[in-house]
Amino acid sequence: MRLKVIDSQRCVGCQSCMFACSRRFGQAGLANTCMNVVSAGGMSKGFKVIVCRACKEPPCAKACPVDAFVVNPKGGIKLKPELCVGCKNCIDACILGAIQWNEETAKPLACIQCGLCVKYCPHHVIEIVEH
C-alpha cells in the first residue's frame, strides 16, 4: 500500500492531514508530520501536497551513510532512528522533499504509508492505493 495524491487542485491547505500524521506520536502540533502541504507560490495558486511515493529503490535510503532505512521490497521505507546520525543526506536525496525533519530530535521523519492522514482529509485529495 502507498499514499497517493489524487487531486491536489482540490486541496484547501487546511493541514488536517499533517496534524493527523503528527498525532500518531501522542502529541499535538506539527512536530512529527511526515508530509507537507505548501502553497504553489502563494495561496492564490493553490497547493502542492508533498508525500512519499514509497519508491522501490529509494534514493533516500541509498544516500544514508549508516543504512538507517529499512527498505520494503514492495516499496517504501522505515527509519531506524537509533542508527540515524542526523546528517540530512536523505533529505537532499529525495528530490520531492518528502522526508521531513524533526527539529527537536534532529532526525528525519519518513512516511510509513499508514493512511491515517487520508482519513482526515476532508476533500479527498489523498488516497491509499496498492503498489
Binding site: C14, Q27, G29, A31, S39, G42
Partner: protein
C-alpha cells in the same frame, strides 16, 4: 517539556533598541487562558496610559492559546493594540497560519514595543528572532508583492505565516489592516497603521515545536468529535458551500441589506453581487486557514484583457465574503460584480479594511450628492453610486492623502463628518464604521457596546432575526442582557483562538473537556467567570483610555431607514446604552 511551558512563554520585542527577551507568564495564561484574555493584560501592562496610538508608546500584542495547534478551528490569533481609529481598545482576529505558527515557534504571545529607526520586518523561526531591513519593501504599491518577496527570502514553507501591512498601513490610514497568507486579515481597528507607525513592515513566523498533552485518550476523543462536527454535520455547511456571501440575498429578502449608505435596505442589483451568482461565474478555488477542515475562504478568478494589446490577459484571484460584498457592493450601489471584484482587489492590495473603506466611500458619495463637499476637495473625482472605476481612484487618494479632505477620510467617517458635517449619515458606532447588517436595534446596540474586534459577530443580528421570525418583543434592557451574556461567553472562544464560525461546535462541554485534555481542569462556573473577568478587563482598558458612554451618538440614518425588526427610536437606544453602562460598571 511541561505542558504549560509549551504555551506560556511571552516574547517581548523592543523595536527601538532592536532587542528581545522571553519571559515565562504562566501567571497570565493560567488565569485568562490565552488569546483575548492574555492579550488584554499584556496590553494593559505595556501600553502607556494615554499613549498616542501611532507612536512608539503604543504596544502591539499577538496572543495564542493552549488550543492553538491542538484542536481544529482554533486558528485565530488575537491581536491587541490601542486603536488609531477609536482611540481605545483595538482587537483584531486573523487566521491563516498565524496562530499555529506562533504556538509552534514556541510562544504563547508576542509583545511588540517601541519604534524602529528604519523599516524592518521580523523573522522568527523556531523561536529565534531576527530583525531584517525592510527598506526596499516600503512604499510598494501592493502588499501581495511584498508578501511574495518575503516568501522567496525566508524559510518555513508550508508552516509559516507572513503577516504584513500595505501602503495604507505605512501611510497611517486609521483603518488599515494586516494581511496574512494573502487572504486573511487582521482587519478593522487599524492594526496596519500601528505596525506602520513602528516602521514594522511584516512578521514572518514559523516553527515545529511539539505540543505535549495531559490526557491523550481524552484529547483524541474530543478532537474527533470536533472534526466530525466540522466536516460531517450541517453546523458548518453555510460556511463552506456558498460561504457567508449568500447573506446578500438573505438580507435583501428582509430589507436589511445596507444600500447606498443605508439610504435603503434593499438593492435592486443584489442578485448580481450575491454569493450564489459569484460562485457560479467566478469561484475559482477554496482555501482554508491552517487546521481548519472547513475551508470557508472563497476565491474568485477575474480575467481582464489588456487595454491595448490583443490576446493579452491578466487573471486576478480575489477572495470575497459577505462583508466585502456589502461594503464594496451594495453600500456603494455597485451591481456590476466584476467591477466590484476589481475594487475589492484594489482595497486588498493597499491592505485597507474593506468595511470601513466602503462606509467611508459611501458617506463621501452622499456628501457630494448633497453638495456638502465639492469637486476640488475630491481632487476632481466625481463620485457616483455604482461607479466602481471612480471608487478605485478614490481608494488610491485615501491611501496617499493629497489634501486635507482625504487626510480626514483616512481617519474614518466619524472624524471626517465632525469636520465636514453629514454626521447624521456617517455610519459609525464608537468611531468604528458599521458592518453589513441593518436588521434592527439588536445589531446596532451590539455595535455600540461590543468589545470585540469587528463588533460584527455580536449576537444582535440573531436577536433581531428572532424578533422578525417569532415576533418576540425585546426591550432595551433585555437586548443588552442577551448581548452581554453572549459577549462574556465569546471572550472564552476568542481566548482559545476559536473561529467564531465554529461557535456551534464549541459548546461548554466540548471546551471543558478540551481544556482538561491540555491540562486545565476547570468547572463550568470557573470558565464562565473567566469570560466575565476578561469582558470587564477589556472595558477597564477602554475606560482607562477615555471611552465614555456619554460620547456615543447614534447616526440618525439608522432610524430613518426602516429595519425589518421592531420599531426603535433614539429613546429606545439611549435607554439601552444607559442600562449597558450601569451593568458594565457593576462588573468593574
Amino acid at each position: 517539556m511541561k505542558i504549560e511551558n509549551s504555551f506560556s512563554k511571552v516574547l517581548y520585542i523592543d523595536l527601538s533598541k532592536k532587542t528581545f527577551f522571553v519571559e515565562e507568564r504562566y501567571d497570565l495564561f493560567s488565569k485568562y487562558l490565552g488569546g483575548t484574555g492574555v492579550a488584554t493584560q499584556l496590553l494593559k501592562e505595556n501600553c502607556k496610559e494615554g499613549a498616542d496610538p501611532l507612536s512608539e508608546d503604543n504596544t502591539l500584542v499577538l496572543a495564542v492559546s493552549p488550543f492553538a495547534g491542538v484542536f481544529p478551528l482554533a486558528s485565530k490569533t488575537v491581536a491587541m493594540f490601542k486603536s488609531p481609529l477609536t482611540g481605545d481598545l483595538g482587537e483584531s482576529h486573523a487566521g491563516g497560519r498565524s496562530a499555529i505558527s506562533i504556538r509552534s515557534t514556541g510562544y504563547g504571545a508576542i509583545v511588540i514595543n517601541g519604534k524602529s529607526s528604519v523599516p524592518v520586518y521580523l523573522s522568527i523561526h523556531n523561536g529565534k528572532v531576527r530583525f531584517r531591513n525592510a527598506y526596499t519593501l516600503w512604499g510598494m504599491r501592493s502588499c501581495f508583492q511584498a508578501g511574495a518577496i518575503i516568501r522567496e527570502r525566508e524559510s518555513g514553507s508550508g508552516i509559516r505565516a507572513i503577516m504584513r501591512i500595505g501602503k495604507a498601513g505605512e501611510n497611517g490610514v486609521a483603518y488599515s489592516a494586516v494581511t496574512t497568507e494573502t487572504y486573511r486579515h487582521f482587519g478593522r481597528l487599524g492594526m496596519g497603521a500601528v505596525m506602520g507607525s513602528k516602521n514594522l513592515k511584516a512578521l514572518v513566523v514559523s516553527g515545529k515545536n511539539s505540543i505535549p498533552l495531559a490526557d491523550k485518550k481524552l484529547y483524541r476523543e474530543v478532537y474527533n468529535e470536533i472534526y466530525d462536527a466540522a466536516v460531517k454535520s450541517d453546523v458548518m455547511k453555510k460556511y463552506h458551500d456558498i460561504g457567508t456571501s449568500g447573506n446578500v440575498l438573505s438580507l435583501q429578502k428582509i430589507g436589511a441589506l445596507p444600500t447606498k449608505n443605508l439610504q435603503e435596505g434593499k438593492f435592486e442589483k443584489a442578485k448580481e453581487i450575491d454569493g450564489v451568482h459569484i460562485a457560479e461565474h467566478y469561484l475559482g478555488r477554496r482555501v482554508a486557514c491552517a487546521h481548519c477542515p472547513v475551508g470557508c475562504i472563497h476565491i474568485a478568478n477575474i480575467r481582464e484583457p489588456h487595454p491595448n494589446e490583443p490576446y493579452f490577459y491578466k487573471t486576478a484571484q480575489v477572495s470575497y465574503d459577505y462583508e466585502l460584498l456589502f461594503a464594496l457592493g451594495s453600500m456603494l450601489g455597485i451591481g456590476d460584480e466584476k467591477g466590484m471584484l476589481k475594487l475589492i482587489d484594489e482595497v486588498e492590495a493597499y491592505c485597507l479594511d474593506a468595511m470601513s473603506t466602503g462606509v467611508v466611500l459611501a458617506w463621501t458619495t452622499e456628501m457630494y450628492e448633497k453638495g456638502l463637499i465639492n469637486i476640488e476637495q475630491l481632487n476632481g473625482l466625481e463620485l457616483k453610486w455604482g461607479d466602481w472605476e471612480t471608487y478605485i481612484k478614490t481608494v488610491e487618494q485615501i491611501v496617499n492623502q493629497p489634501n486635507d479632505f482625504y487626510k480626514a477620510l483616512a481617519k474614518g467617517v466619524a472624524h471626517a463628518s465632525k469636520i465636514y458635517g453629514g454626521e447624521d449619515f456617517a455610519l459609525a458606532f464608537g468611531k468604528n464604521e458599521m458592518p453589513g447588517y441593518h436588521t434592527g436595534p439588536g445589531c446596532h446596540i451590539g455595535y455600540a457596546i461590543g468589545t470585540r474586534h469587528s463588533h460584527l459577530c455580536n449576537a444582535g443580528y440573531s436577536l433581531d432575526q428572532k424578533m422578525i421570525v417569532d415576533g418576540t418583543k425585546e426591550t432595551p434592557q433585555s437586548i443588552v442582557d442577551s448581548l452581554m451574556k453572549e459577549e462574556k461567553w465569546r471572550q472564552i472562544l476568542s481566548s482559545l483562538n476559536l473561529c467564531f464560525f465554529a461557535r456551534g461546535i464549541y459548546t461548554m462541554d466540548v471546551i471543558k473537556r478540551g481544556l482538561k485534555s491540555v491540562g486545565f481542569d476547570l468547572t463550568e462556573e470557573e470558565i464562565n467567570s473567566i469570560g466575565e473577568q476578561i469582558y470587564a478587563e477589556k472595558y477597564s482598558f477602554k475606560f482607562r483610555e477615555g471611552f465614555s458612554f456619554a460620547n456615543q451618538k447614534w447616526p440618525k440614518r439608522i432610524f430613518e431607514t426602516k429595519s425589518p425588526s421592531i420599531e426603535f427610536d433614539p429613546k429606545f437606544m439611549d435607554e439601552a446604552l444607559a442600562y449597558a453602562e450601569k451593568k458594565i460598571r457593576e462588573l468593574l
